[in-house]
Symmetry: C2
Subunit: 146 residues, 2 copies
């Protein structure tokens, strides 16, 4: 991970469809050299995935919420982790230090879907003793990387 690799990562972050030859012009390297560096970044697990950022409002998923979850017994944690990660509306799941144990970022179409997720899915998981939901009114910034 030298300076050139960081420039390549920055280029891909801005546009992952950028061609190796375009990146090569930026970092003054030949096409095979750039391809090889990208391959190694993938192999090392530094590049985890190539993806697109999709406009949620335009695809009908209008309701973004953050849900704090408290778990009661440590014996329930493994089940909770496995089950919650498999939930489609759960975009993110972070283990927290503090009052609550987990923070979920949940994306649904409307409030009725959110209600169903909270009542039918989340609260029925073993060990879930409390939760606290906050609705996002709007999103000003949302990057996945630094």
């Amino acid at each position: 991970m030298d300076m050139t690799d960081q420039q390549i990562l920055a280029s891909l972050k801005n546009n992952s469809r950028m061609t190796a030859s375009d990146i090569g012009k930026r970092v003054a390297l030949s096409v095979p050299a750039v391809s090889e560096r990208i391959r190694k970044l993938e192999e090392a697990g530094i590049i985890e995935a190539y993806t697109v950022k999709i406009n949620r409002v335009k695809t009908g998923h209008k309701l973004l919420a953050f849900v704090f979850v408290g778990i009661e017994h440590s014996k329930h944690i493994e089940t909770f982790r496995t089950r919650i990660v498999a939930c489609e509306p759960v975009l993110e799941c972070h283990h927290l230090a503090g009052e609550y144990d987990y923070l979920l970022k949940v994306l649904v179409e409307d409030t009725s879907q959110l209600e169903r997720f909270l009542s039918d899915t989340l609260k029925k998981l073993p060990g879930v003793v409390k939760s606290n939901t906050m609705i996002s009114l709007s999103t000003l910034k949302e990057n996945i990387n630094l």
Copy 2:
């Protein structure tokens, strides 16, 4: 946005470097047809960006935190929005309904950087009256799209 477009979006979501011809095989369409659909999805703003998911730990950004922020007067909101979005460590900024006004997702290298962000940047913004920081111990799931 018909079924085919959704399949194309799903393909790009899984791997944004996938070629149009590979996508074409999945959706039974010719290469120019796929390219044209992608172009229209970009034009419509449904595809907002192509990007990579980078492993944070391996690039030295080890500390992820969520910061709730309360703002005092509405006159300060515009300044706060502009300034906070420009902050490099701030990955996300959501406007919330509830006790706090904003939720920030902040990525830094270590606790000293976090301290500097909270003390030197956030708390010096006009109107910031309270904040509440939660450290992420680990991340189980982190998608940008549904």
